[in-house]
Subunit: 391 residues, 4 copies
Amino acid sequence: MKTGRHFLFVPGPTNVPDRVLRAMDRPMEDHRSSAAPEMARSIFPDLLKVFGSANGQAFIFSGSGSAMWEASLVNALSPGNRVLAVRNGQFSTLFIDTAQRLGLKVDVIDVEWGDAVPAARVGEMLAADTAHGYKAVLVVHNETATGVTSDIAAVRRAIDAAIHPALFYVDGVSSVASLDFRFDDWKVDFAIAGSQKGFMMPPGIGFLCVSKKALGLLDQAKCPRAFFDLRDQIKHNAEGYFPYTPPIAHLFGLRAALDLLFEEGLANVAARHHRLGEGVRRAIAAWGLKLCALDPKIYSDTVSAVVVPDGLDAKKVIDIAFRRYNLSLGGGTGRLVGKVFRIGHVGDINELMVLGALSGVEMALNDAGIPVTLGSGVAAAQQWYRETATG
Amino acid sequence: MKTGRHFLFVPGPTNVPDRVLRAMDRPMEDHRSSAAPEMARSIFPDLLKVFGSANGQAFIFSGSGSAMWEASLVNALSPGNRVLAVRNGQFSTLFIDTAQRLGLKVDVIDVEWGDAVPAARVGEMLAADTAHGYKAVLVVHNETATGVTSDIAAVRRAIDAAIHPALFYVDGVSSVASLDFRFDDWKVDFAIAGSQKGFMMPPGIGFLCVSKKALGLLDQAKCPRAFFDLRDQIKHNAEGYFPYTPPIAHLFGLRAALDLLFEEGLANVAARHHRLGEGVRRAIAAWGLKLCALDPKIYSDTVSAVVVPDGLDAKKVIDIAFRRYNLSLGGGTGRLVGKVFRIGHVGDINELMVLGALSGVEMALNDAGIPVTLGSGVAAAQQWYRETATG
Amino acid sequence: MKTGRHFLFVPGPTNVPDRVLRAMDRPMEDHRSSAAPEMARSIFPDLLKVFGSANGQAFIFSGSGSAMWEASLVNALSPGNRVLAVRNGQFSTLFIDTAQRLGLKVDVIDVEWGDAVPAARVGEMLAADTAHGYKAVLVVHNETATGVTSDIAAVRRAIDAAIHPALFYVDGVSSVASLDFRFDDWKVDFAIAGSQKGFMMPPGIGFLCVSKKALGLLDQAKCPRAFFDLRDQIKHNAEGYFPYTPPIAHLFGLRAALDLLFEEGLANVAARHHRLGEGVRRAIAAWGLKLCALDPKIYSDTVSAVVVPDGLDAKKVIDIAFRRYNLSLGGGTGRLVGKVFRIGHVGDINELMVLGALSGVEMALNDAGIPVTLGSGVAAAQQWYRETATG
Amino acid sequence: MKTGRHFLFVPGPTNVPDRVLRAMDRPMEDHRSSAAPEMARSIFPDLLKVFGSANGQAFIFSGSGSAMWEASLVNALSPGNRVLAVRNGQFSTLFIDTAQRLGLKVDVIDVEWGDAVPAARVGEMLAADTAHGYKAVLVVHNETATGVTSDIAAVRRAIDAAIHPALFYVDGVSSVASLDFRFDDWKVDFAIAGSQKGFMMPPGIGFLCVSKKALGLLDQAKCPRAFFDLRDQIKHNAEGYFPYTPPIAHLFGLRAALDLLFEEGLANVAARHHRLGEGVRRAIAAWGLKLCALDPKIYSDTVSAVVVPDGLDAKKVIDIAFRRYNLSLGGGTGRLVGKVFRIGHVGDINELMVLGALSGVEMALNDAGIPVTLGSGVAAAQQWYRETATG
């Protein structure tokens, strides 16, 4: 029998604000009525802003972030197309896997898990590709598996320096709506997002932001597609409708989530994630533990992957935290299973929620045989939060 | 300013019971925790029962019913495969369109919109296909566009009589969880359903029920696929997990919806749909209007498509009902646009809800220049409901 | 197993709009925080407007309408005080009973149940009371038991004509927020209301509106009181607080309900109640049944009490409607038990909800052995609603 | 713009579990229908158990805890009756004030605020009252203002030793449903409770538990009363109904709250409150601060009142915590204003919620100029929670 509120500190799904949950708790409406377009017309422009775009077009699908990988690929590419991708964690691995399953040929730049997208290396590869064989470059903005944020602007500069026409695909699942994301500035062609992280919603819908350049390729793309075909969306969205029954409850929730994001202000949202994330990192440092991320410049403000000492099993920490202290932490994925636990610090959280979670991590670490001084991480985070408090 | 409750009588989304809405209005949970599998393990066996199956396997996807068309096709077929499909309304049309977009060759049996699947004709085509070129037969159990329910058992008998190995695809989007559906008895290979009709949930997730025979073909199927690949689902579902972040709120809702279905009893659910639908039909007859469905034997118990007299526009009836009387009716789709309006009578409804809706239809018809005697349809339905009342 | 939405047509509690229910579904807050006064400061002025007052003061109590009878009496009167009251139904009977229990001497003007407050008779009694022995006049604006609305302005004129200083008590439990109510114009001293009728909220809180004249008497009043003492409320409300822990969830709901009332407009709310109520009355006339209310001029727009033919039991109609047709009707109270059933048409309702309810009444009447032509009442109401439809 | 969940750590209202909030978020029902008694019949026996009674009778009122003081007094006493009361904090002060307002003569045993009910002194007073002039003894079980729990069994023993027939009134507003409460064992005659503390519900309803002895006095009691008259409740409750429109939403919530209490087990609930409260106390000790409660034997497990050093203002701590850290703490009341802040640790909470709150207190104390070592209180509580963790 668990009492009180669970501390959900996985990097997705994140805590859904009551306003969003209540907005979704509403009777259905006819999605084909004459009043229905109001909803879509209210949402799409705001959704576009969250991507940092004025020139692109935003799309909403029933589906997860993984579905959006597929949707982004099949709409602009053709089987056999070569693409260049960076693999620096589990989610970039799965993005590449998706591309391969769909018949694309993927040249992979492998870097250490914990490292960021090597913009220079991408630039070299593209510069060497004088025949413009690469139709696309695939990167993950924020590797949720390792807690690494890559410099997408730098990748863009590298592509530009190589004077290469490849489409620029950026997975922003754990960055859009939480970190600074600049679709237009970075000349992204496909940005991929999901509802369950910075958008603070239940999982179940995915978002794409697509550039005009990419939209010009829809008819040329030969990947077979039906449900994910953007042309159906474009046609129906233009009138405020959807090509199939839209996820109405999620649309209600999205409207509320966008309201929350704009009430706070996107820049403030990013600043808050930095501030809260920095508190988590100071706690980890106080514990004497290391992040999976290799360099402070690439530390993610939405998730921290903490390496447990050799010979110990991070799964034990996670399991104790969950069973004993009402705290959900993220596990290692792929090759990091057992080696790291992850603290998600994304979405609708605040200082005391983080401090409560850090308290729980301290207890679970000790219980799991990883001695850290009780209260030490909390104190380090408190000190930072006091220094940076407003109000 | 609209007051009171809207009367939602489109054939999907349907009215979501408060218990389902409240069940979805709940904080998120870590879908990878050690406790998470309880949810999946509770849901899948019950979901299978709703399909009338003990031997198949049920699957849940973020997506709509349309996504399930794609998921069903790509997992067992290969580009260039020939399939036989019946086209008797807008949804069978779109199912066929999906198959074609995915690279399948579809031989279409066209029948009048309003007619049912011609089992005999299917049998003849299959019998003639001695080379077994048809890899699948595609039919829609309940054509939501025309209000026609086909005899799937008869189609099965025709396939069997032809001694043909084609896979049997049945779209049950507007029949599963509301009409009698017998996956095992009818030897269906892929049954397709969505959350927003008989399941009484918000749109956003789709269901498949897949036969052992079909599951044996997954590795042979050459249609490119990633998000929809059943093999990922099978692998993760076996442990009570999902290959991607599952639609958690919808799973909470599904659990509640399944509880409601079983508390009422699936046979009672079907009987209630028949009883309520028959009241609607008696009202329509009292008005002197015709159904799109050509024969009483194929009248659908979940939706009635009502033909408006020549020269009149059904859209006007729908628009008046919506703006003036707080009533949502379904429109004609495809070639039936303007020719019919549809009354959905599926999901969480009862006598007085139907009678209120029929009252609204009577007023809207008169306002739209289609004179029917006020109260006449209501009285016919009342008489039937009184005769068949219990309690 | 009941499916679909219940038709709640009792004269309170009324249907609570989803916006109100969702507003109440919210975490608690500290009612003594520095931010707490915002809520009270937002609510009280709007609440006052609903009473039709600019000069009075509104109060909110945890309690029911019955509690407000007590609160209104004990704050301005002293044991042994004489008051004049009109008894024309069950609720005026209980109001009088409350006064008597609290030690007041009540002179009762009895009129037939079904009749209104006799303003002339009140005037005569007061004119005869040259010694101003009556400290108060107690009337019920809308007798919920009989469906009778009295002319409060006329009573006021009678009091004025008698040049009598008695306090004017008006029970507006089933009129405030649904019928035209003019606290200031009618020079009411205490108006009594509850949350569960026109305010469209769950029962549990009561409201008073009190005149400056009455507020001047608080210190003179000798009725013992503690919880209901307005002086505590005045002191704390002045700062935006309450003297005890306020009913926070209800305050959230009240804020939402006030928003709904003002979005529609109070005059429109009253007009809607008249229009919907008139439809009910036309149905009753079409059935050949009589109202308990004796004269069309006093028909209530929030509740209709329908007399069943002699020898028949209204409870049977109510019971059948409830068990068989998912419809709640009000019963007779006091001396009207078994003689009438009541249709509440107050709060968050619309045409189709009323028509659905009327359909159910028609079925229940017939089932109970009171033959009315099926559809006849519905048709009469439909005709009226069509004639008066907008949009 | 506040993000994340507020930390509500006042001693009422407490955090309402989602299950309770969702249970209350439900359409209204006719409280006079033939099905309505099921609710009351399900609730009353369970409510009685929460009071630790098998022989008493439980009552539910719309109202607050303060209303229950009045309800308990007026039903068994008469104006001019003498009662003996102990005053050891703000809530006992208000209880006494209520008694006085209602015309009772109260002899007060004053003890230091921070001390408990002096059972021996009560015994002496009663022993000296050989004429049995005291009709009742009034005590507060858990003084919410000072964080002091008195030994009610000892008071009972003192009454018994004095062989005195006075009725025994126990305010259990902040103890029932959270601390061990034994109505029958302690031979309590009136126990008073409210919804917004251990019952984990929104404020708005109050509860009484009344002994058979007290019920025998209802007709003799001469205090004027109407709304609070238990005889009306007894009459209607016997049939499963209420004498006035009951607080339906709260009844739905109460049913859910009772389910939660019994699922956890009342003894476990009390043990959890002790364990969580002890963590709070260890934190306070680690900070070097004192409790208002004078002796460890009387420390309350539901609320701790922390004394700030001389010359400092506790209101500043509270204000900083609220504005800057999203944390609500209780203030001092009555003579303790500015001298203490209170940490409520009652209701639906767990370790990490407490630790998050303690983190916030540490920051707010330092910001307010009361230096405590960051993390020190958290560590002390963590150590205790680890030692006593299960699972």
